[in-house]
Assembly symmetry: C2
């Protein structure tokens, strides 16, 4: 680390000093149920929080037409009216250091049956060292940590000397179109950090993800003649079995993909949704499956999609010989995976910051899920560091994030910002104890 030991100490102490406020703000944010297309009120909160910090504000709704020109955009069936990103930009008085994008997504996945939660997904209580709620780990704690890490630098009487864009994006859980839209809007920097819930570790490699719906037709008939009919639900399940054969083949190829060799089951095809049939006493005419598949970095979405399409085209009959046809339609992610190449300066800076806080080496690992980092890695040639706190049950019931992990990660991020962008002593403003009350610097 180039950072002076005294600066390190002051920054770390500033994180501690404001940590209660940070948690309270995270709870506020969790209490906004920012489900897909319903992110606006959470974005309002973040907009106001960034503006109060004196950042240069930008906010726009996603543009489906512009997105559709990008090969990595996900297809949508929703309206993007009032669905948009918030970006706050910090510009140093004199830009000397390296620039940085601190990115996070504000959208959360559906909570599922409420009865299965121990308490409301939107209450955000803190219990036994965990902050609960849908989106608490994935990834509002990280999104807020970005802001409070920045606050800590200023509360320490310092100012970053590099430009910083704070991005709160939508659509990370379904298409990745939020970060892609920010890229299309022109946001670039020398590095990106995204504090997704990654168990205090750095993501080294990540799969791509494709979403599609498979439609299968049956031969409806009255159940009294059931054997003359052909149940579309059974047929769809048969088709899913064939897709799982493809999943097994892709998993068998893991040895050919660096960073995936040692994973038990890197490629997961998730049967995430099903709908079929109109009437209990009619042999179902139709069934639809929502499927999420993963693909290795280096495999293009087009190639993966061609294999999926071939697989489905090969299903021409069920086990009983009934002719069947399965058609697939993309309806979300169409993303490729990425690898964070080892040895970047950005990673070195993060390693230094992590070592200061954790007194341990930063571990890296491979994740088999979608991450917006691919937008920066694939389309802007930018090192994208995905690094964030310990969580449990993301996308599940009683999702929660480990509070002390959030504290450590916030310190790491603060030190990383200071190390990467550089810092200089504040001029004209007094160091304040809480970042929430920071005086504008622009």
């Amino acid at each position: 680390m180039q950072l002076q030991p005294d600066h390190v100490r002051r920054i770390v102490e500033a994180v501690d000093a404001a940590f209660d406020d940070q948690l309270a703000f995270t709870q506020d944010l969790v209490r906004h149920p920012s489900l897909r297309t319903q992110e606006a009120s959470a974005q309002d909160l973040l907009y106001d929080a960034m503006r109060a910090r004196g950042l240069e504000m930008d906010r726009w709704d996603l543009d489906p037409e512009q997105l559709a020109t990008h090969p990595g955009a996900g297809r949508i069936a929703v309206s993007y009216e009032n669905v948009g990103n918030v970006v706050g930009t910090y510009r140093p008085t004199e830009e000397q250091g390296r620039s940085l994008i601190l990115n996070g997504h504000v959208d959360v996945v559906p909570e599922g049956p409420l009865g299965e939660w121990s308490r409301s997904p939107w209450d955000a209580p803190i219990l036994d060292g965990w902050l609960y709620g849908r989106g608490s780990g994935d990834m509002k704690a990280g999104l807020v940590a970005n802001l409070f890490a920045f606050d800590a630098i200023r509360a320490a009487g310092l100012e970053p000397t590099g430009r910083i864009h704070f991005q709160s994006v939508v659509e990370e859980e379904c298409t990745g179109n939020g970060s892609l839209s920010a890229l299309q809007r022109g946001y670039r920097a020398d590095a990106v950090l995204i504090p997704e819930p990654e168990e205090d570790m750095l993501v080294r490699a990540n799969t791509g993800v494709i979403w599609f719906t498979v439609c299968v037709a049956g031969r409806p008939i009255h159940p009294r003649e059931m054997n003359a009919g052909f149940n579309a639900i059974d047929a769809a399940y048969h088709v899913m079995g064939r897709l799982r054969e493809l999943e097994a083949r892709w998993n068998a190829q893991k040895g050919d993909h660096r960073y995936f060799e040692d994973l038990d089951h890197p490629i997961n095809f998730n049967l995430g949704g099903i709908r079929g049939g109109d009437w209990p006493s009619s042999v179902p005419a139709w069934c639809e499956l929502d499927v999420r598949v993963a693909l290795y970095p280096g495999v293009t979405a087009d190639d993966a999609w061609a294999e999926i399409s071939d697989c489905l085209a090969s299903v021409t009959a069920d086990d009983a010989g009934n002719p069947l046809e399965a058609t697939a339609t993309r309806n979300g992610f169409y993303s490729e995976g990425y690898v964070l190449e080892e040895g970047s300066d950005a990673e070195s800076a993060l390693r230094g910051a992590h070592r200061e806080v954790f007194r341990d080496e930063l571990a890296s690992f491979t994740t088999p899920g979608y991450l917006d980092a691919r937008v920066f890695a694939l389309y802007a040639d930018t090192p994208a560091l995905v690094y964030g706190p310990i969580s449990e049950a993301i996308h599940g019931y009683d999702e929660r994030v480990d509070i002390e992990s959030v504290r450590r990660i916030t310190k790491s991020i603060a030190l990383f910002i200071a190390e990467w962008c550089g810092v200089t002593a504040s001029t004209g403003v007094e160091a304040v104890s809480s970042g929430r009350e920071a005086v504008p610097v622009a």
Copy 2:
């Protein structure tokens, strides 16, 4: 047959004379999409048609509270506001003959994906000897045949000497609550005829039907940790497999059930609907199955339900050992099967009428589906004759009814009415050529 040959000839000719009108009226009725809870406009049409015939009219909405007191009623989750039966009663000047209920249901099952139909399910075209449309066979052709059979008797210059109730009921396709409500309202007769589409045959025995929804919970999680989760859709499909084992056991018992011994597969468990999962990238938390099962006559619904419940309670884990719980909730039919005992006077009368028209013996058979006849057979000790025209694809696409079969069945019904109720020469009214213009007789 007691009926005079001249009366037979005149009645049969009257059916032919009015048959174009009968088809036109059936087409009108098919054009009303009388899906569940949307039967009102079709009932309006029938009400007006009955009233124009001078029948004593009755119309009421079903009463959920009263129905709930009956063990054979189906549980509902819909409103019965504006969902009701129409009954028109013919009372002879002097009631000498046996009384009769001519019953039919006006509700139809959902049409399924429209793209799979060759033409709209609600257009009711006549093509190559078939009348098409959802409900054409099941059972608007029969419902209309009841009325036009009656018209033919009067057009032949005759009047039935027994009381006749024309019942157009709802809820036959889901609960049987329509006919049950008519029973609760007090309608009784010496025999019942229901012209369901039965291939010019008489139903000898019929299964009961139970509807229920099975809810299965999974363990939701992000697909990156898919193996730590537990997919509720897969779990639900596993549960359906266990129910199919019960189905196989019940089918293996067919030898113990008179009239079912020779059926290939008398007990059909239909997986009629499925819903599960909220998000393609979440391992599904929940899945629901809509299941329709059949039971032999003589097996009580309570006993069948206990076996189903035991079967579901025995499913405590999937093949991988994941603990799972399946809960079932009744949501429609809770009906027992029935047998039309051989040798009734009503059946003899119908056999005679059928022989006159078809020049062949009436065949009887066993059907493995629900029929409202069980209401009359089980709860009013009344012979209930289910006997109707040839159809294809009921509950399927391009449902259709055979026009010449409808003509023959109408003639049979007319002769059956005359034979069962008795006839006398009309007094004070002139025989009219079309039943649609019949002069009131009451």
